[in-house]
Amino acid sequence: MNPYLILGVPRTADDSRIRQAYLAAIKESPPDTHPDRFQAVSAAYDLIKDESSRIRYYLFHRDCPGATPVDAVLRFLQTQPPPQPLPFDSLKEWLRTCAKI
């Protein structure tokens, strides 16, 4: 998974900003209550904690963010905050599409 998305920092973030984001993330997800999240955050931080690591991650990382295009999209969306509700017309239109199937 993309470490920038896990830590919620832009690609241009510097060392201190990344460290701040890391500390905030592990404060939110301590290892005793959220071991998986803590592990993911720590691994993400190790990948981009300094400029050399960031360059090496950028150039050589081989992790694929999903098994299919939709899987990649969903994994990305799951790192984002919940979306705003659909506008009423759009919701109505979509629900009607679902009813027609």
């Binding site: 993309n2 939709v70 969903l74 009607r96 679902c98 027609k100």
Partner: protein, 873 residues
């Protein structure tokens, strides 16, 4: 010219009809009752098997004969047909069937279907009163699914409800659901919850209540609750179908069976604020599941303006998927997409500079294992060029990129030559040197590039360059452990032990527990003590040995720092350059502390040989005692220890020095095999011979152990694997591959996982196809490949890296010849070459030399630098 079979058939039919009309030909007479019975049977079969159209056609004809009997079946066929059409999304066709049905069926027969057809056609308003009436008084034939569909139509009409006392309760529930949906859309979650709360569980709209509960949880970020609520909504209802999009977003795993439905991706796209992307994604997903990754990529490329992108957004995530998938995909599958990228790179035809940059990077990494040096360099420099165009020059990034390129070019490629004479080669020596040097220049703070360059200098035996670089490194990275250790190694290699020990002291200050330091310190102190003995500074030399005190261990198998080994080395030094009496005492103490007399004698003999050329005096010869007393009492456990000791000493030995010792060791092992041994001892010994690269010279003896174990247990998987170990599995005969499969099965059955894994690795290598000759040298590389000195140097550079799957020529004639060649100096080899070439083709002789040297672990002098080497930079 028209000459179709249709034309022929038509003329034939016309002719036949003309004959009938003219009375020249009569049709066969058939009993009408029999015809009707068979037609009815056929029609009923069609109806039973869901072939509604055919059933309808048959019943239509039968109705003409007996309307009362066949009309219900005709209606049933038409109803089935209409529903089938609806299921396939053919709403207008279904409406035509419905129109026909209205002429033959009663309204009660059509109640559900009429509403369903209208809803599928999007005519929610038109059916609202009827739907409400049906829900208020459901006929017994109305199923739960149909009820939910009617309820969906009522909700999705979003129209004022007709005032009717019989439907008042339903209308109230429907209005509550609609109001709640509107409140959710407006972000008024509390109001939405209040609105939907009064809807009872038994209501026809209860599934909408669950849907709303899921929506509220989802938008509040409670994904677990949202998933549970959406999962409880019946899947055949409109909210159930819509809920799938929310569930997937909330983390429910995707079904691996097929692509996600279009309406789900439509919903995800809408929720993500990119409706158009959702629709395109559906098409890309379909291609993906049809194993057409290239088409899948191209759909997005054409339809989405921002694709591909490096941004941290939805399009960026999709782009990352395609470019990263290539790097983790199986080779055959990845090739489909790689061809597309290769085309873009070849034409410089990226849609955007970002695409071109991503393409170069993916190609460089994807093709790295098989590209030749020029291609690899072109891909990587293409990436750097595009990156600089977009984001300006970044020397640090370029430095890391060139470091990678250098390491790729310096990697050992196992050559797969004819006759199975494999010899590992460096991919492109000059390119590797230039890349790493450029990396160091671009970013003097790139520590790993410095270390890689130092390691390359060591492999290429360029001590001057290495020492200069190590001095620079210690100045640039004074507190870096890895650099200091490397510098210490460099100093010890050139006998600058004082300086090397200084570096090691600094490492100890930084990290007292670094496991690499004690061994190096002992080696440095030994070297220093040796120099002091040579300078006749005996007391100082003895004090140097005393300094090793806290570094020594009591583990007999540690051949660097165990007490008995150090006592031997000190005793030998005393004998050679000091005083005999203390030397004897030390050797006696060493013998007492050693794990066995054979180990003591063997270690002392090899240590004496290693110091031989640098000694002034003499030391006792341990070999006669070893031969006289120890060989007759040889044991497998003892042989194992002797092989370890031999491996320890042989690594730095000059060419051919240990040929006689190798023969002695073989003699010892040959004696040991005649005495009792356990399977475990035999396993350890064979593994150790493999690790020490002694399997070839000790082939006959190892075979004896293998045969003995297989005599005890004929299906022992590990020893059967050892027996097959000589084969190159990529071109082995079928029976070898069958044996390999049987070995895997037996190992799995016995729970011997390590053997199973070893056999599986060999099996995988056997599935990579037959051995292919190495690629032809590229333009500019001819000089490099044709330089025999460099070839010989390369062969000796990687003595321990030879391909384990490569076959071994078991022919005794070959073995003897190989041993002979391995022990020759360059001058002797030149003489031998002239003689041998009278009887042997030159290429075969070269292969023989290379093979003999690579299997004999004998280093040869460093190569001469090649002035003709093409400089790619």
């Amino acid at each position: 010219m028209r000459c179709s079979s249709d034309y022929y058939k038509k003329n034939r039919l016309h002719r036949r009809m003309g004959l009938v009309l003219n009375g020249e030909m009569s049709l066969p007479v058939v009993n009408p009752t029999l015809l009707t019975a068979s037609a009815e049977q056929r029609a009923r079969e069609f109806l039973a098997t869901g072939k509604f159209r055919k059933a309808r056609d048959e019943f239509k004809l039968l109705c003409k004969q007996d309307r009362a009997k066949y009309l219900p079946l005709l209606i049933q066929s038409n109803l089935g047909l209409a529903r089938e059409m609806l299921a396939h999304g053919l709403a207008s066709d279904a409406q035509q069937v419905l129109a026909y049905l209205k002429t033959i069926a009663t309204p009660a027969d059509l109640a559900g279907l009429e509403l369903e057809t209208a809803a599928r056609a999007g005519q929610f308003t038109a059916v609202l009163p009827q739907a409400l009436a049906t829900l208020a008084n459901p006929p017994p034939s109305l199923t739960e699914t149909m009820k939910r569909q009617l309820a969906d139509q009522v909700i999705l009409a979003f129209e004022p409800f007709p005032a009717d006392a019989t439907t008042a309760a339903l209308v109230a529930d429907a209005q509550a659901v609609q109001a709640a949906l509107q409140a959710v859309a407006a972000g008024q979650f509390d109001q939405a919850a209040d609105r939907v709360r009064p809807v009872p569980h038994g209501s026809a709209f209860a599934h909408w209540k669950l849907f709303l509960k899921g929506q509220l949880a989802f938008h509040r970020g409670k994904f677990n609750l949202a998933r549970q609520s959406f999962a409880a909504v019946p899947a055949d209802s409109a909210p159930g179908k819509a809920g799938v999009a929310y569930r997937l977003w909330a983390g429910e795993p995707l079904s691996p069976t097929g692509p996600v439905a279009d309406h789900v991706l439509d919903g995800i796209g809408r929720l993500a604020g990119q409706r158009a992307l959702g629709l395109v994604l559906a098409e890309a997903e379909r291609y993906w599941h049809a194993q057409q990754p290239r088409q899948s990529y191209e759909v997005l490329r054409r339809a989405v303006a921002a694709f591909p992108s490096e941004n941290l957004d939805l399009v960026g995530a999709l782009s990352e998927f395609y470019f990263q998938w290539l790097l983790s995909a199986p080779f055959a599958a990845g090739d489909l997409l790689a061809k597309c990228f290769d085309g873009i790179a070849a034409q410089r035809g990226g849609k955007t500079p970002v695409e071109l940059k991503l393409v170069w990077r993916s190609l460089a990494l994807y093709f790295a294992p098989i590209s030749n040096a020029v291609e690899l360099q072109a891909d990587w420099t293409g990436f750097i060029r595009e990156h600089e165009k977009l984001q300006g020059a970044n020397p640090r990034l370029a430095s890391v990129a060139y470091e990678w390129l250098g390491q790729q070019l310096a990697a050992v490629r196992s050559a797969e030559g004819p006759f199975g004479f494999g010899r590992p080669e460096m991919r492109q020596r000059q390119g590797a040197l230039d890349s790493l040097r450029k990396s160091v220049i671009l970013d003097p703070t790139n520590r790993t590039a410095h270390l890689a360059l130092a390691a390359l200098y060591e492999r290429l035996r360029l001590p001057g360059d290495r020492n200069k670089l190590l001095d620079e490194m210690t100045a640039r990275f004074p507190d870096d452990k890895a650099v200091l250790i490397e510098a210490a190694r460099g100093c010890l290699d050139r006998n600058a032990c004082q300086k090397g020990l200084g570096y090691l002291d600094r490492v100890r200050q930084l990290d007292r527990l670094d496991p690499a330091v004690p061994d190096l310190m002992v080696e440095g102190l030994l070297q220093q003590a040796g120099q002091q003995f040579q300078q006749n500074r005996l007391d100082i030399a003895r004090a140097t040995f005393d300094r090793m005190g806290d570094l020594l261990v009591d583990q007999a198998d540690n051949l660097v720092r165990s007490r008995w080994c150090i006592l031997i080395r000190q005793g030998l030094l005393e004998h050679c350059a000091g005083q005999t009496q203390p030397g004897d005492k030390l050797l006696a103490a060493a013998r007492a502390a050693s794990p066995s007399p054979a180990a003591f004698l063997w270690y002392a003999h090899l240590a004496r040989l290693a110091r031989g050329r640098r000694t002034r005096g003499t030391s006792p010869d341990f070999l006669p005692e070893f031969q006289r007393d120890q060989i007759p009492q040889a044991t497998t456990g003892g042989a194992l220890r002797l092989v370890r000791i031999f491996k320890h000493w042989i690594k730095d030995a000059p060419t051919g020095q240990h040929y006689d010792d190798c023969q002695m060791l073989i003699h010892y092992i040959a004696t040991a095999v005649r005495r009792p041994f356990t399977r475990e001892e035999a396993r350890q010994l064979i593994d150790q011979l493999d690790q020490a690269g002694l399997r070839v010279p000790c082939d006959k003896e190892a075979d004896k152990f293998i045969r003995a174990i297989l005599k005890r247990d004929p299906v022992d998987p590990l020893f059967r694997l050892y027996k097959l170990g000589k084969w190159d599995f990529r071109s082995a005969p079928d029976w070898v591959q069958r044996d390999l499969q049987a070995i895997i099965a037996e190992a799995v059955r016995r729970g011997d996982h390590s053997t199973a894994q070893r056999a599986e690795r060999l099996w995988e290598s056997s599935q990579r196809g037959p051995v292919l000759p190495p690629p032809p040298p590229e333009a500019g590389e001819d000089d490099y490949f044709e330089d025999p000195l460099e070839d010989a140097a390369d062969a000796a550079d990687f003595p321990f890296d030879s391909d384990p799957a490569a076959p071994v020529a078991g022919d005794p004639v070959f073995r003897d010849l190989a041993k002979q060649i391995a022990g020759m100096t360059e001058a002797e080899l030149r003489k031998f070459r002239k003689k041998a070439l009278r009887d042997m083709p030159e290429p075969l002789f070269d292969l023989l030399v290379a093979s003999a040297r690579s299997s004999a672990l004998v280093p040869v002098p460093p190569p001469k630098p090649d002035p003709n080497q093409l400089n790619f930079f």
